[in-house]
Amino acid sequence: MSEIQSFYDTPAPPGLTGIRAWLLTHDHKRLGLMYMWAILFWFVIAALCGLLLRTELMSQGRTIMGSELYNSLFTLHGVIMVFLFAIPSVPAIFGNFFLPIQLGTDDVFFPRLNLFSWYLFMFGGLLALISLFSGEGFPDTGWTFYVPFSVEVNSNVGLTVMAAFILGMSSMLTGLNFVTTFHRMRDRRMGLMQIPLFTWSLYATAWVQILATPVISITLVLVVVERLFSVGLFDPDKGGDPILYQHLFWMYSHPAVYIMILPGMGVISEIIPVFSRKSIFGYKAIVWSSMGIAIAGSLVWAHHMYTSGMSDVSVFIFSLITFLVAIPSAVKVFSWIATMYKGSIEMTPPFLLSLLFIYLFSIGGLTGLVLGAVGTDIHVHDTHFVVSHFHFVMFGGTGFAFFAALHYWWPKMFGIMYDFKKAYIGSVLTAIGFLFHYIPMFILGMQGMPRRYYDYLPKYETGNFLAGFGAYLLIIGILIMFVNLLMSFRQRVVAPSNPWGGTTLEWTVPSPPPVHNFVEKPQILEFPYDFTEVIERTKMVKGNENQ
């Protein structure tokens, strides 16, 4: 058997050696991996920040830190989780690695721009780190940087905001690259309705990245300008209006929520049919719901501002559109469930994580309706109910989809398989810890405990203690999961090119793929989720074993 060299052994552009083969590479697969290590680093830091926060809240009064540190820490947790983990995680890692392969091509359209985006990402992260340890210390504004506080406070808001600006640019350029790749690099024989759903979801995400990110860029620039020159655009004394800041901020930051969740939904749409051995239910509906979420999601930003002071008419309209977003999301959930119905289920860690995703995401989505409805929102606005809701979507959704993607594509990216048993234990523990952690917060929020508060009344103590306990379980679960994945490097159980029986193009190439992805011309299936061949093959193998 002639050995096909993987991309690890073939630098692109050719001739580069050692560390330069990574730092100057144009290869989308190497860049995906470089994103992965950086993002995992940030994820661990931010998760530990979260753990410290919840430890502080486990008992009344001062537990392990003072109030000012607490404020900085929740800002740091939010900034890292949003800008350095949730937004880039799935598109930058798995999008970079698999979008070109799923489209049957050898790279993204602008490989050098791709490298540049990675440097922007690293530079943005570096700025965030510098802002931690220089000047007046890390901001305590919360990741939303609301004026007037963010303009007046002495802490290092300017630098942190610039970091977010640069990270935004990196994410926008990645989106630009994906849209162009999608249109110009796709295998000529692959029609629009033959594209894998993960790639479709990245396409929808890329548009949101291109359309929404400039708005946050200009908003963050305005914060810096206000800090430097005190123009007064958001200062009522000088004729400005602070509410306008909130509008501009959420015009990006709400669509950003869909930047975070859409790729995750794409991952789930890949995994569910593979392990049900059944074609995805409602392929077209899922494609259209991705685009529908991208469009409708861009029009709902002011539902973060029901209590900020808006006319009743606007509040009503934004509430209505918010409810409309629930429709395409539900279309997806029902399609996934219908796919599993009467399928031939094969349980694996990525599949278990996907099931957990559906469960947790549904809770997040349904509690979103409580917040989307004006009457109930005014009751729970800015309470722990909100915190719990968006963690169910961002962590139970995006986070678990990220874990699922890690476990699903790990054998393809590294060519090795991890231990299933430990992966199951880790996933289940993470999910149990998750529920212990966030369910009490729903109750705390209903009882009226505000978010971001350092201290609370005695009646909230039980809930906060339980949440803190859950946080530890959660972190231990994630730790087991990650350590198990890392251990696979030592055990080196070689993974075949198609360990799961997937039908999309990345499973037709060797694990790990060669530098140009395809050894021979890719075979484009009539429909990307046609499992007849896979089922035939399994039957044959089983038959041979029986003889």
């Binding site: 400039p214 708005v215 655009l233 000088k238 306008l244």
Partner: protein, 198 residues
């Protein structure tokens, strides 16, 4: 990689980028719209204080330079390298004129104590403060884009002179030209919104 150069793909990428630039300014125009609705009379008062002649001259300068950039691309396509170089030099020169005009304009306003956080604006009407605040931010950001555009044109100019941009491969020049047109286009909106308001 020995792939054939996909000119359409490069252009798609550039247009997407330009689109994001438009939205960047769009955020500021949203602010303009909201505040114009709030302070219409002060916006018209502030607009009268701006120098329409310099504004009109600058508009013409940018329009002419947009034309010469387009002409330089046609010249390259016809292999008239000298003419292309001439057109590009002229366009960059127009950018310089624009910035010099802007400098004198801002300077005169500063001289009259009209700049962000100045005494006159702080003690005056809030509506005027907002008008001039937006004026400085939008024209300032536009000025930065003019400088970026000039840098891009200069790089293209060097590439033309060195012979890297030719009749078969002029994507860099064309994209710089597109960027320059965008700078021009934004000014076409800025000019009436500030100088010709009511």
């Amino acid at each position: 990689m020995s792939r054939k150069i996909d000119k359409i793909g490069i252009k798609i990428g550039m247009w997407l980028f330009l689109y994001s630039e438009i939205i960047l300014f769009g955020g500021l125009f949203v602010l303009y719209a909201a505040y114009f609705y709030k302070y219409p009379e002060f916006f018209s008062e502030g607009g009268k204080e701006l120098n329409r002649i310099i504004g009109a001259v600058n508009t013409t300068v940018l329009l002419v330079s947009s034309f010469t950039v387009a002409a330089s691309i046609t010249a390259i396509q016809r292999r008239e390298k000298k003419r292309a170089v001439g057109c590009l030099v002229f366009s960059i020169f127009c950018g310089v004129i624009f910035l010099v005009n802007k400098y004198f304009e801002w300077g005169a306003k500063f001289h009259h104590d009209i700049y962000p956080n100045s005494e006159t604006l702080l003690s005056g009407e809030p509506g005027l403060n907002i008008f001039f605040g937006l004026y400085y931010i939008i024209t300032g950001l536009h000025g930065l884009h003019v400088i970026a555009g000039m840098i891009l044109l200069s790089i293209s100019l060097i590439l033309v002179i060195v012979g890297k941009v030719t009749e078969s491969n002029y994507a860099m020049l064309e994209n710089s030209g597109l960027y320059w047109h965008l700078v021009d286009l934004i000014w076409i909106f800025v000019f009436p919104l500030f100088y010709l308001v009511l």
